[in-house]
């Protein structure tokens, strides 16, 4: 018996933490999903209320605005970040001076929290104290840059701050991709008389498109999860003009104390994430299988 225990203990040390991690991923997902079908309000109830919470969430104006915002913000942020990251990577790839310095500068935002990012940018965007006032003080008396208090434009201030945060990341991945291209390809292109534009569009871009897809997916899943940045920059305002799905979940759960609806909103958030990640997973699976087939 003692021997049994001695055998058992190391197994526990090895597997228990992993077991807890796996259980928390599966169990908590199931738990929240379950709550989304109950009539939970201030406290969790374990009854059955069908799709009542989902109906309420989907009919709420906050949800509608949040998902419209997510589309605008997702397209704007992911598009601009990917484009800027790719352009910077190509430019850095031109055997420039001070490459390390520039790379260090582009990447540092990644080490900065979204709370800090949002706070700093909210000061710059604040028309009464920020860029608008500064430019006016230079003599351009009717300069206007008040997007952050404009219901229609405020979401774009979030986009700018997020692009600021993410471009270095996209640049780093694209640059790693460009540097992994066989140098002989580069030389062969030069011998063929292909100019740089031709090289990057015809040879480099097709070679690194898997990197581009990774960048797009990572940025997109990040966009869906964005919460801190909005909280720090606008608090979702003016009104609810900059609210996003992740903010709506939090509002339902902790501002209005409607746990059932909050859970339903969280499940919807998860589903939007799955909508992005599942095709990517299938694509990655397909690519891996094709590569295995190609290599025999």
């Amino acid at each position: 018996m003692r021997r049994r225990l001695a055998d058992f203990l190391p197994l526990l040390v090895i597997w228990l933490p992993l077991l807890i991690n796996v259980a928390h991923v599966v169990g908590f997902t199931a738990w929240t999903t379950w709550l989304s079908f109950t009539s939970s309000d201030l406290l969790p109830e374990y009854d059955w209320a069908g799709l009542r919470s989902y109906n309420a969430v989907l009919r709420s104006e906050n949800t509608v605005v949040a998902y419209i915002n997510l589309v605008l913000y997702g397209v704007g942020f992911v598009g601009l970040t990917t484009l800027a990251g790719f352009v910077l990577a190509v430019l850095i790839d031109q055997r420039i001076r001070a490459e390390n310095l520039l790379r260090t500068i582009y990447l540092y935002p990644l080490a900065v929290s979204f709370v800090v990012t949002g706070t700093a940018w909210s000061w710059l965007f604040n028309p009464a104290q920020g860029i608008q006032k500064f430019v006016r003080s230079l003599g351009w008396a009717d300069f206007r840059f008040d997007w952050i208090i404009d219901r229609d434009l405020a979401i774009w201030t979030i986009v700018i701050a997020a692009v600021w945060h993410g471009t270095g990341f996209a640049m780093a991945l694209f640059l790693a991709g460009l540097r992994s291209i066989d140098p002989d390809l580069h030389k062969a292109a030069q011998i063929d008389g292909a100019g740089p534009a031709r090289y990057y569009l015809r040879i480099a871009a097709p070679t690194i498109w898997p990197v581009a897809i990774s960048v797009l997916v990572i940025l997109l899943q990040f966009a869906i999860k964005t919460f801190d940045l909005v909280r720090a920059m606008t608090g979702g305002g003016p009104g609810i003009a900059t609210t996003l799905p992740a903010v709506v979940v939090y509002d339902f759960m902790f501002q209005r104390a409607q746990l059932g609806r909050g859970s339903a909103a969280a499940v919807l958030l998860l589903l939007s994430l799955v909508a992005v990640l599942l095709p990517y997973y299938l694509y990655a699976h397909w690519r891996a299988r094709r590569e295995r087939a190609a290599h025999g």
Partner: protein, 285 residues
Amino acid sequence: MGEALRPGRWLLYAVLIGFAGFTLLPLVVVLLNSFRTAVEITRTSVIGWPAGLAWQNWTTAWSGYCIAQRCEGIQPYMVNSFLLVIPATILSTALGAIAGYSISLWRFRGDNIVFAIVVMGVFLPEQMKLIPWALVLRDLGLSNTISALVLIHTVQGMSFTTLFCRNYYIGIPPDLLKAAKVDGAGYFRTFWRIILPISPPIIIVTVIWQFTGIWNEFLYGVTFTTGAQQPVTAALIAIATTPATDLVEYGIQSAAVILAALPTLLVYFLGGRYFLRGLTAGAIK
């Protein structure tokens, strides 16, 4: 390539330097403001060169500024964040290294499923876990404690650390392990004598990743702690939303923002190489 681009080379540098300016703008602005007085900033704008060096911004931000009715500055919240980030980083890295080693080198039935769930944990939004965590923490008697955040970040962090370590250990040649087994080395001895000595690169990457992620995390901190127990990210939000009296203390708030960002910035500037490696390891897979 360089030759062909030479006529446009000035444009190339203009774009690169222009974007560097955009990237540095918030940091420079906040840094300069941390040396300007509130009166000075309100009279002009948040963009400006300091008239003098208002060092008192820093001392006030550190230990005197009122955050949610407590006038002890940002210092106690920085302490909270360190009390949270140090144990959580060490625990999640250590457990992740062992789990990654188990998954990658000690194949067992269902190991693929376990690994798939670990990866899912990386992507699962925190919002899906908020209510369960709140209920579990209440049952464990850990509500509103820093220990609760350590627990959460250790359990959740294992998804990342296990993924990183597994992807690193999977590249170890099987012959190395066979040799160890022939020598009669068991699970722990193999880990201790063979795996750990070749692990420093991935351990450094993982520690940097966890430290940065946990220090910067906000949602759990603001949801599960209040008042004196909050980490610095949550306290910063409280600073920025402190009801504006007649004068917004931009100078002091700027110093507080820099102080809160300093630990992860230092990690980035000291370990930049590993920082980047962590990103690419996590992304290109």
